[in-house]
Amino acid sequence: MYLKKINKNFKKFREILLLNSLNNFLTIILVFAIFITFLQTFNWLIVNSKWTAVTTNIPLFVFGTFPEDQRWRPFIWIMSLLTICFLSIVPPKWKWLRKNLLIAWIGMIPLGIFLLYGGFGIQTVMSRNFGGLTLTILLTVCSSMFALPIGIGLAFCRQSSLFVVKKLSSIYIDSMRAVPLIAVLFFGQLLIPLFLPLGLEIDSVWRAIFAFTLFVSAYIAEDIRGGLQAIPHTQIESAKSLGLNHLQIIRFILIPQSLRIALPALTNQVIGLFQNTSLMSILGLVELLGIGRSILANPKFIGQYIEVYIWLASVYWIICTLLALMAKYLEKRLKIA
């Protein structure tokens, strides 16, 4: 049985790859090239690479320059984020918890701000000391949580029958989509402080979150609009005939369905946002990529840039894959429901 299968596969293999002399030649060359590449990579990984820049700096990569004795705070926040992600994928048995999951998600932002900035009994930490993965997550979570409601609002405004509202929101969305993200970020980091009167200061982390929110909300609005347009108009009419008012239609019919339809696109936005936070490293925030570059400047680790960048790439890869998996489970669950 197995032999037959192998034989069949082998035949197929021969048919595709070893059909004539040209194909033979190409196959041999390719196999050789792949072999050499693997050998080189393996050789580098085992023999030449030095991972001290990564191994001795793991806490720095995660917490940045956060005071050492206070590192439990970002740790608790990241852990509670993970927990709530897990709860969203695998819904808990208790109904009250399931009902309040949204509130818990919204509560993550004040919790994060409290744990990171401190105050109210715990030591205050300035945002200059935020860094590494903590800062990357803070930027992603805050920007996406702010951008989602704004995006939903913009999408509804764009569908509105009021001319001014409709025009304003479409002008906003179109102009935001016509500007590259890096320009918006430069605006946030370099121009906003110049416009503010002296003495009034918004810290750079919030300026970044502001710029990301402005940008991403325009894209989210378009994703949601796609979802809204996919809902058949008959549903709204039947809702009206059932006596639901405008708000109820939005609350019970439009938002849940459009969010469900837009979920894959929204996942895309979050993953894109997560990766785009690395742009902040050229604007002076020491997030994951930025902290990697600061560590590379340490004379002890000069020249280990390949190792550090491989490490950073794998961290980004793992987190993005987790996000994608989470969205996949969520999609599956919502379809059944």
């Binding site: 320059t65 200059r128 110049l194 003495g199 200061e201 002076g284 600061s294 020249g303």
Partner: protein
């Protein structure tokens, strides 16, 4: 339309009016003392000058200068916050008041100092650098002429890029610049052989070379492309703060000249207090003369500075000396009495 425009003009007048009146009343120096903390802009990505150590603390020569400032102004080197800045945003950060002092490997130039330019005020030079070119030993390149039609890796957005262009253009040597945003990218692509030479400040070249697999296989050419006097900077409209910063740097240099170190400072203070005839030492350490008060600091600010960081020589040794990770010979960074360029006006 007309109304809108005049409205905008009025608003901007109002804002600028507010900001200028704000600036005149208070010096940044008083603000720092009131806040009890100095905010210092650093790079965080330059070996030997400012980088993150394993314990998550910034280290380097630029960082030690920040510590000296904090010790001199606030009285405690620990009352200090760092703000990592990129080359592009460093001047905006001073103008907007996000940082008090910039100690970020910044070259002192006319256009940065002038009110028509960046409007900064530079403290005395803390490091005399010059731009150089590094090549591989086996390439047999001996001087700039040999680099004809070769490609050179260069970091963009700094004076480095402009200098190499000026030199090659004035000598009419065609060359091919390959620009990178980041210092580590420059050395990476140089090592991969994408360009036959890399250019940067000599201190940077030396520190990059120390991390190469075979440091002896690379040489830094004798040709000097430019002068790069690196010095801390602050807002140009604030003379009071600029004075304080200036004399804190001079404190470091004078301390080395007088042989006062972190170790013997207590002894020297005792000596000065007991011997009324040691006039210049007494003035320097604030026993007599009340010099500190004249620049808005405590009279014994020099003692705090030296206790925090040691004298200039100690700072240099710690970050760039023989036993440090980035070894650079002191050359023009010696004191003037030893044939270098560091010189401090008298504390009188």
């Amino acid at each position: 339309m007309h109304k809108l425009l005049s409205g905008i003009a009025f608003l901007s007048l109002l804002i600028s009016g507010c900001s200028s009146s704000y600036q005149k009343d208070t010096s940044r120096l008083d603000l720092i003392k009131k806040r009890g903390e100095l905010i210092c802009g650093v790079s965080g990505q330059i070996a030997g000058f400012s980088f993150l150590d394993n314990d998550g603390k910034y280290k380097g020569l630029d960082v030690d200068i920040c510590k000296a400032f904090a010790a001199g102004i606030v009285g405690d080197a620990k009352k200090l916050q760092y703000r990592p800045l990129t080359a592009t945003e460093r001047f905006t950060a001073i103008k907007t008041g996000e940082i008090d002092v910039l100690s970020r490997n910044t070259t002192f130039t006319l256009s940065r100092d002038s009110t028509g330019g960046n409007g900064l005020s530079f403290a005395p030079i803390v490091f005399y650098d010059s731009q150089g070119i590094m090549v591989k030993k086996e390439s047999n390149i001996k001087n700039i002429q040999d680099l004809k039609n070769k490609s050179i890796c260069v970091g963009s957005g700094t004076t480095t890029e402009q200098n190499i262009n000026d030199v090659f253009e004035s000598k009419a040597i065609p060359y091919n610049p390959i620009k990178y945003q980041d210092a580590s990218q420059v050395s990476a692509s140089y090592l991969q052989g994408r360009c036959s030479a890399m250019t940067s400040d000599r201190s940077q070249l030396a520190s990059a070379r120390s991390g190469f697999p075979n440091p002896a296989g690379h040489i830094i050419l004798e040709d000097v492309l430019s002068k790069e006097p690196l010095s801390p900077a602050s807002d140009g409209t604030d003379n009071k703060l600029a004075d304080a910063l200036r004399w804190i740097i001079f404190t470091l240099i004078t301390a080395e000249e007088k042989g006062i170190t972190k170790e013997n400072i207590d002894e020297k203070v005792k000596l000065a207090k007991n011997n009324p005839q040691l006039k210049s030492l007494r003035r320097f350490l604030g026993v007599d003369g009340g010099l500190g008060e004249k620049i808005g600091l405590r009279n014994d600010f020099t003692i705090n500075v030296i206790k925090a960081t040691g004298n200039y020589g100690e700072i240099y040794e710690r970050n760039l000396g023989e036993n440090s990770d980035v070894t650079l010979s002191r050359n023009s960074n010696k004191l003037y009495i030893n044939g270098g360029l560091h010189f401090s006006p008298p504390f009188n």
